[in-house]
């Protein structure tokens, strides 16, 4: 992918865009690039030749870029459990917590790309995750997949590639400049840690909204 001559010493780390300073970034020797590692609930956008990496269980990552501009990003989200609507009630449940949250996660990424000059009509989307990683959990992954497919259809985005579902976690590396994805399906050995991390994320999603989500002006 790149020459072995490149290193963290010869390739300065480009500053993160405003709002993304807290995402952990490290030098990836095999990618010969700086890598941003995103956790559940986070997303990262870059205009530089970097790699964005994450580990997915039942969560979904959408990798989205504007090929003409060489800018792109990745999110990592799952839908919160929603008691207010039944299964497959996406349209009827358009006001549901799950749909609101999932759409927010997708829109946050798309908006940041557009702020960097991406054209909505050019956006190329790749989808990963949605695995069924624990037999004891309800199939959260399938619900996440169903959501993201419906959302993208409604928004008119084209899906260039996807690797979704199945009984495994995934390690994803995304190179927004080229659109290349390096994907590794992981062994069950790593499932417990990933499931624990996703369960903690899911609990956070159910916490009450912060009071500052509404501001009234006099």
């Amino acid at each position: 992918m790149n020459t072995a001559l490149q290193s963290s010493a010869t390739t300065p780390k480009a500053p993160a865009l405003p709002g993304f300073e807290k995402v952990r970034r490290f030098w990836s020797p095999h990618a010969a690039r700086w890598a941003a590692k995103i956790l559940p609930g986070e997303f990262f956008v870059t205009a530089h030749d970097e790699v964005i990496t994450t580990i997915l269980g039942s969560c979904i990552s959408a990798c989205i870029r504007d090929p003409a501009r060489g800018i792109g990003g990745m999110n990592h989200f799952m839908l919160p459990e929603d008691q207010t609507v039944g299964r497959n009630a996406w349209l009827e449940g358009a006001g549901s917590l799950a749909t609101r949250y999932g759409s927010f996660a997708m829109e946050s990424l798309v908006n940041e790309l557009m702020k960097l000059g991406a054209e909505r009509s050019r956006l190329e989307v790749k989808l990963f995750g949605g695995g069924r990683i624990l037999a004891t959990m309800s199939d959260v992954g399938a619900k996440n997949i169903e959501f993201v497919h419906r959302y993208l259809r409604l928004e008119g985005f084209r899906i260039a590639a996807e690797d979704l579902g199945a009984d495994c976690p995934r390690h994803v590396e995304y190179f927004p400049r080229s659109g290349v994805v390096m994907l590794k399906r992981l062994k069950a050995l790593s499932v417990r840690d990933i499931a624990d991390q996703e369960t903690r994320y899911r609990r956070r999603l159910l916490a009450p909204a912060p009071p500052e989500d509404v501001e009234l002006f006099a």
Binding site: L97, S103, E107, S108, V110, A209, V214
Partner: protein, 120 residues
């Protein structure tokens, strides 16, 4: 009442409409526009009683639309429903005469808090 929803996301316009109903605001007429420029045209053509607008949109952003309305002297209750809310954005929204800013992912309760004074 006639409520204009301006958002470049089809999904989000649908979600805003549905959340208004969940918040108890029933029986209203909805008009939609997919960016600020089309929103401006819809305000002229449809004369809505309330405008709910996204902030980041192609062609004309939500705040540019509100500032344009101010320049042309069009008065309509106007609030933002937006993904990103920074202190600068709040300040600019208030200065332009916005009545409220609701951050996504909003809840029916946040809609009730923000819109209760405007929707009959």
């Amino acid at each position: 009442m006639k409520i204009l929803i301006i958002d470049d996301s089809t999904a989000m316009r649908m979600i805003v409409r549905k959340t208004l109903r969940l918040a108890g605001f029933e029986g209203h007429e909805f008009v939609e526009a997919e960016d600020g420029a089309k929103g401006l045209a819809a305000i002229t053509a449809a004369a809505p009683d309330l405008v709910l607008s996204d902030w980041n949109m192609p062609n004309m952003t939500g705040i540019e639309l509100l500032e344009k309305l101010n320049q042309t002297g069009v008065k309509v209750p106007f609030g933002f429903v937006t993904t990103e809310v920074t202190p600068d954005m709040r300040q600019r929204a208030a200065a332009a005469g916005a009545h409220f800013v609701v951050a996504k992912p909003f809840t029916p309760e946040s809609f009730r808090d923000a819109l209760g004074a405007f929707i009959r």
